[in-house]
Subunit: 385 residues, 2 copies
């Protein structure tokens, strides 16, 4: 096991009706900005439930945060905070709304140009407004971690930032709030959580037995519950397991003390920034090909993945690895997320520009061994067609 | 899955040499009381390493905290805090030292009679002195939870208290610091962690898939690593896995959203208070018999335990359950912890008094369904002989 420091101070409120508890978690005198996306929380009643819980608080609303939240939009919220002396934020939505709210929380009290927060990946963040979240989409883990991803549309750049100051103080996870999600978002969420686990698990072995078994437990749960979530949208138990799995997939725990990859996410961010694919679509396309191209480096963990997650115990090693990767791709397709660039109308001619963008963002040595060079990224992308 | 609230703010510093980091975690102006046990940390150099790390701090020492820390001893530390205006505590030791330090931290600033803290199981605790820990014995999980157990010798009472104010701010987990532990403490630690997991896992099913798989991962790791830790005391990887497993076994995570039993611990506390057995010895004696006596209530989870932890997939259900319980008992014996009361010189004549003490402490309806009455406890104890 590698050395590590780990802490996660977010308070999770899990279950039916837990939104009612937020009134005790936000100081009574706060001026609260509720942030949300394009209005689904208005239609399905979640926002009303939040407003009832906060009926004794002073609240403001900021809607319109996009999937892949943009710097341009988020800076409007920062202006609103300053105009209205807002001192607490509450994100109501999925990972994009929560990621965006993290940026708003940091940018509102940042000394200097807020763009620096993203350019320096959160390094200069020394404080942030306090905030909580009400999660409506199990996927990104943002509800219990200290990272976010923000896009600057004008630069076609999608950048990650992390800071210990942007852990949510609390997050409400009510599985019923996911009943009205379209199947596309359920499929995307399962693929996203699956990729998060694989990025922290299929690397090289360091004998982190707890981390490995926790990772395998999360993958097995996604494989069992994902298809049920598509088939039976109002199954509370399925949605509960999915929600807790997605949170545990990226809250720092399974990644503590083990190597981490993140190549799939980094290449995926460029695909989204250039071509507008959903985040999970990029992961479904790239991850199986990353595993194939990097299978020598990842050999031991791929064999463990094949055995413990896909129950592949017989046959030649290479064959087991190949079958495990095929099953991964098939699972993404089963979750109704397409796994080839051609499915999204993207051809070979896009690859040079994608590689340029990776290099422009300094991503020349990706992966757990920093040996995914632009040439390796090119080979991965060529297999994605 | 059941509804739950979960938070764990303790910062874990895991790895070789991490003691050096504590100087940045304790405010420079603090007056620090270092608490420890009967001196092994003096002999093996751990205390010296702590003193070097805190060479710029004002430090005091309080040694002599016993295994099963006593109210009587701990109250001496409370006096010392008040005399010396101490404002930060650092526990250096195993679960007893950390449990004791939690009580000291709460008692030092408690308004009223500190005995109330234990009698009311922590309910009235509204604040505590800040404290950290340097863990030397993987076992109890106290380094990352908010509970403690304290004995009042004069009353033969061993009582649990819990409070969100007594989470350690940080805990150092350096696997090398466990190399000099006697095998009795390693065996005890593995049994303790194993029992912690089973108390939160072998109950009745609520379809908590993540919690179940995490629990199974911890049990499998203990079964694999426990015997190696006895055989090769200086195997860093083995000690790392054991240390992280014991911490994860009782930090609130695997118990969030699932039923919990704790009968074995409650009966065990009476055994320790009356007869002085090591805590883990009591668990090794009681747990297999609790599982046998309560096997109807626990049937589904016992079958899952048999299959996933002990790989028992063939044969009649009752036979698989019986074999799983036998394997549990054999594992404790393999860890060199005896599993019968007679091994400790305790006979049938002790049972009436043990049952009286359970009732005196209000423990008349134990277990995940509150149906472990004194009569059921009697049947369990009779099987323990």
């Amino acid at each position: 096991m590698l050395d590590f420091n780990f802490v996660n101070p977010t308070h999770i409120l899990f279950g039916k009706g837990k939104i009612a508890e937020i009134k005790e978690r936000i100081p009574a005198a706060s001026r609260v900005l509720i942030t949300y996306g394009r209005g689904s929380v208005k239609k399905n009643g979640t926002l009303d439930e939040v407003l009832v819980a906060l009926s004794d608080h002073t609240v403001f609303e900021f809607g319109g945060i996009e999937p892949n939240p943009s710097y341009e939009t988020l800076m409007q919220a920062v202006d609103m905070i300053q105009t209205n002396s807002i001192d607490f934020l509450l994100a109501v939505g999925g990972g994009s709304v929560i990621d965006g709210t993290k940026f708003i929380a940091a940018a509102a009290v940042f000394e200097g140009d807020p763009w620096d927060i993203l350019e320096k990946h959160g390094e200069g963040v020394l404080k942030a407004l306090p905030f909580g979240s009400v999660l409506t989409l199990p996927a990104t883990g943002s509800e219990m971690n200290s990272g976010g991803v923000v896009t600057r549309i004008s630069l076609q750049a999608k950048l990650v930032f992390m800071s210990p100051y942007v852990f949510p103080l609390f997050s409400v996870l009510d599985p019923e709030k996911t009943y009205t999600l379209p199947s596309r978002q359920i499929g995307n969420g399962v693929v996203d959580a699956f990729a998060h686990v694989v990025e922290q698990y299929v690397t090289y072995p360091v004998n982190g037995k707890v981390q490995d078994r926790f990772a395998e437990g999360l993958l097995l749960t996604l494989i069992e519950e994902g298809p049920k979530a598509l088939a039976n949208p109002k199954d509370y138990e399925v949605r509960s397991n999915l929600m807790w799995t997605a949170t545990m997939a990226l809250n720092g725990l399974i990644g503590a003390g083990v190597p981490q990859d993140w190549t799939t996410h980094m290449i995926g961010h460029e695909l989204t920034a250039m071509h507008g694919l959903d985040h999970a679509q990029t992961l479904a396309v790239i991850l199986p090909n990353l595993l194939t191209v990097c299978k020598q480096n990842k050999r031991e963990k791929l064999l463990q993945y094949a055995e413990r997650v896909w129950d592949l115990k017989e046959g030649e090693s290479d064959q087991r690895i190949g079958t495990a990767i095929d099953k991964t791709r098939n699972f993404f397709e089963q979750m109704q997320v397409k796994t080839h660039l051609s499915d999204y109308g993207i051809g070979k001619d896009s690859i040079p520009r994608l590689l340029e963008q990776l290099q422009a963002h300094g991503l020349n040595s990706l992966g757990e061994q920093q040996d995914v060079t632009p040439d390796v990224s090119k080979r991965i992308l060529e297999r994605c067609l």
